[in-house]
């Protein structure tokens, strides 16, 4: 028996780490040479955020097999809690990267709590209730933040539903102003932070899927009755996948929120949730690599096409690329072909790890 032969799943996971690291290095070199346009440079952090969003949503939709239509809601929770935390700590912790890390961790925790609050009552039900509840959740979060005012003075944080109710001292500053959203945010996000967050997300999701807990989640997706018959508790593992997914979305949201000097709650609306779902579906349900590539391509592409001379054909090219991505990631015939060309492709064993 060969001892050190890698399982197809771990090989696939390492290829994904490789792709991310190579992409980071190449972009750093391009940045160093000044080869990236301003538009492209401004896309680097949000692309990382959307990759994390897509990979984490894939955990719920592809791996667990439950439909979520409010993933942007968790992103929103993370964004605004991250902004508040970073703002509240700006005099206490002057080291920007440390403040960013704390903001991301808090964003993840708040996102995760949101996941628990929704998951506990809904995931015990059988049927597609999660889709409808997450849809409502996304809208509720958006509307709540639109009437939320948060300010800071020497007494600490003030929360209210209108500016005058904040009751702050004279020199207090409001950071979240209802419909205007967060304003005057110190931009802490960097591309390197985005890269690290993507890598951490990949490690968490891939290691989870390729472990005892991940197998239980996959078992539930494939055949709930059989999974129960071998002693797997349904609610526990559904919650595990859903809450992890929500927490990662919260982390991505915190990074996203700290990338702009102002952010409105409408940024994280139903359309955003659907956009992320499109990344996941086109990238292939359950395929981590597919989510990553689809999110990166489909987020950057429309912007890139805009800057070329061919801009009148922009949407046409976008549509063609959408179809190509779909073919590449979902078509079994094409997969076989690729497997033939690339001899060390993964063997039979599951559509999960990719």
């Amino acid at each position: 028996m060969k001892k050190r032969s890698m399982s197809p799943a771990s090989r696939s996971a390492f290829i994904n780490y490789g792709i991310v690291i190579v992409a980071y290095v190449v972009i750093q070199i391009l940045l160093g040479q000044g080869a990236l346009s301003n538009t492209l440079q401004s896309l680097l952090v949000p692309v990382c955020c959307y990759i994390v969003m897509a990979v984490s949503l894939n955990l719920t939709v592809g791996v667990l097999g439950e439909l979520s239509l409010g993933h942007a809601g968790f992103m929103s929770l993370g964004a605004f809690s991250g902004i508040i935390v970073s703002f509240a700590l700006q005099d206490v912790i002057t080291l920007a990267p440390l403040r960013l890390v704390i903001a991301i961790v808090v964003g993840a925790i708040i996102g995760g709590i949101g996941g628990v609050l929704i998951g506990v009552p809904v995931l015990r039900l059988r049927g597609d209730y999660l889709a409808i509840v997450t849809l409502a959740f996304g809208e509720i979060i958006k509307n709540v933040i639109m009437v939320l005012y948060v300010g800071l003075d020497e007494e600490g944080l003030h929360f209210a539903t209108s500016q005058s109710n904040l009751k702050m001292a004279y020199e207090g500053v409001a950071i979240i102003k209802g419909p205007m959203g967060a304003v005057g945010v110190t931009r802490l996000a960097t591309f390197t932070a985005g890269f690290i967050l993507v890598l951490v997300t990949l490690i968490i999701v891939q290691n989870l899927v390729n472990s005892r807990s991940g197998r239980a989640i996959l078992a539930l997706r494939d055949n709930r009755i059989a999974a129960e018959s071998v002693g797997i508790s349904v609610t526990k593992y559904k919650l595990m996948a859903f809450v992890t997914s929500a927490a990662l979305a919260g982390a991505a949201g915190a990074l996203f929120g700290l990338n702009y000097s102002s952010t409105m709650a409408t940024r994280f609306d139903f359309n955003t949730s659907i956009l992320i779902l499109v990344f996941v579906v086109l990238g292939g349900l359950g395929s981590i690599r597919g989510s990553m590539i689809a999110a990166a391509l489909l987020y950057i592409l429309p912007e890139m096409l805009r800057s070329f001379a061919i801009s009148e054909y922009r949407m046409l090219i976008y549509a063609i690329i959408l179809i190509l991505v779909m073919l590449f990631t979902n078509n079994p015939k094409l997969k076989e072909l690729i497997a033939k060309i690339v001899p060390k492709g993964k063997k039979k064993g599951g559509e999960v790890n990719g």
């Binding site: 490690i203 055949n223 059989a226 129960e228 018959s229 071998v230 039979k348 064993g349």
Partner: protein
């Protein structure tokens, strides 16, 4: 229909719940159900079902189509909550338990219409059966702590060992859904065994198998009972299999037990003959 209705007088007297009363039941029998029943709307799919199974017994549950055999399995594993009666498993009451808890208490099963994790590998199917026996936490899995490596290695070895019962080690990396029918049925048994049950329920394990596969299956069921020292209850329409390996047989018709006994007693039982012949005349 009235012709097939068994009135009290027609029924074989059942002196004990146990199929073979003289069998050694140990400190507690593996399974003891009394007055078990369930009603779907007006239909009593299973009614007043009493049965005791010894610790290492191979028991058969037979009866015409629609008799309620699968429903009995679904009651024992709490896929359906019984509307009447009690089930004791290794002496413990199972009321209010979920299917997953029942498995942890000691019942594992296969399904009449195969239910594998089709998109996963054969090895992963077995490893999912081992779920409650390699217990490292989610954090150890994500952080790849030593307990992850140790227990994954053990799970791999155990999965291979279990697959070797049916000489299926070479199929470990194949996708479960792509296996031939017979192999899928065998994999279901391996997966059930992985949960380390004290009672194994097999719902038509030989369905779709050719005679030589069935003969091999019979040998393997006995081998499994002998090596794992567990009780087996099987539903089967193949009478050669049932008569060949079942030490006790329970016959259901229209949801009620019409006979219990050894294979010889069952074969000679007039009520059983009538149930089967009656069905043949009708069909």
């Amino acid at each position: 229909m009235a012709k097939f209705h068994f009135e009290k007088g027609h029924m074989v007297p059942v002196p004990s719940h146990s199929i073979i009363p003289e069998r050694d039941l140990g400190s507690a029998p593996v399974l003891e159900c009394s007055h078990l029943g369930i009603q779907f709307g007006g239909l009593k799919a299973v009614d007043d079902f009493n049965l005791t199974i010894g610790r290492t017994e191979i028991a058969g549950l037979i009866g015409p189509n629609g008799a309620g055999k699968t429903t009995v399995f679904n009651l024992l594993t709490k896929v359906y909550q019984p509307t009447m009666g009690t089930i004791l498993l290794n002496g413990q009451d199972t009321s209010g338990k979920t299917t997953a808890q029942i498995n942890r208490m000691g019942i594992a099963r296969t399904f009449q219409n195969i239910r594998l994790f089709n998109n996963l590998s054969v090895e992963d199917n077995v490893k999912i059966g081992l779920h409650n026996h390699n217990r490292y936490s989610m954090a150890s899995g994500v952080l790849r702590l030593p307990s992850y490596w140790k227990q994954e290695k053990a799970a791999h070895e155990r999965a291979m060992e279990l697959l070797s019962i049916f000489h299926m080690e070479d199929l470990a990396n194949h996708q479960a859904g792509s296996l031939p029918y017979g192999a899928q049925r065998r994999l279901e048994i391996v997966r059930a065994l992985a949960t380390d049950p004290s009672l194994l329920l097999l719902d038509e394990p030989a369905a779709g198998m050719n005679p030589s596969e069935t003969a091999e299956l019979m040998e393997n069921i006995v081998k499994i009972r002998d090596t794992f020292q567990i009780a087996v209850m099987l539903i089967e329409h193949d009478m050669n299999l049932v008569m060949g390996i079942c030490e006790g047989i329970c016959v259901l018709n229209f949801g009620r037990v019409i006979a219990k006994g050894t294979s010889k007693e069952i074969q000679e039982n007039p009520a059983v003959i009538e149930a089967y012949l009656g069905r043949r005349k009708e069909g």
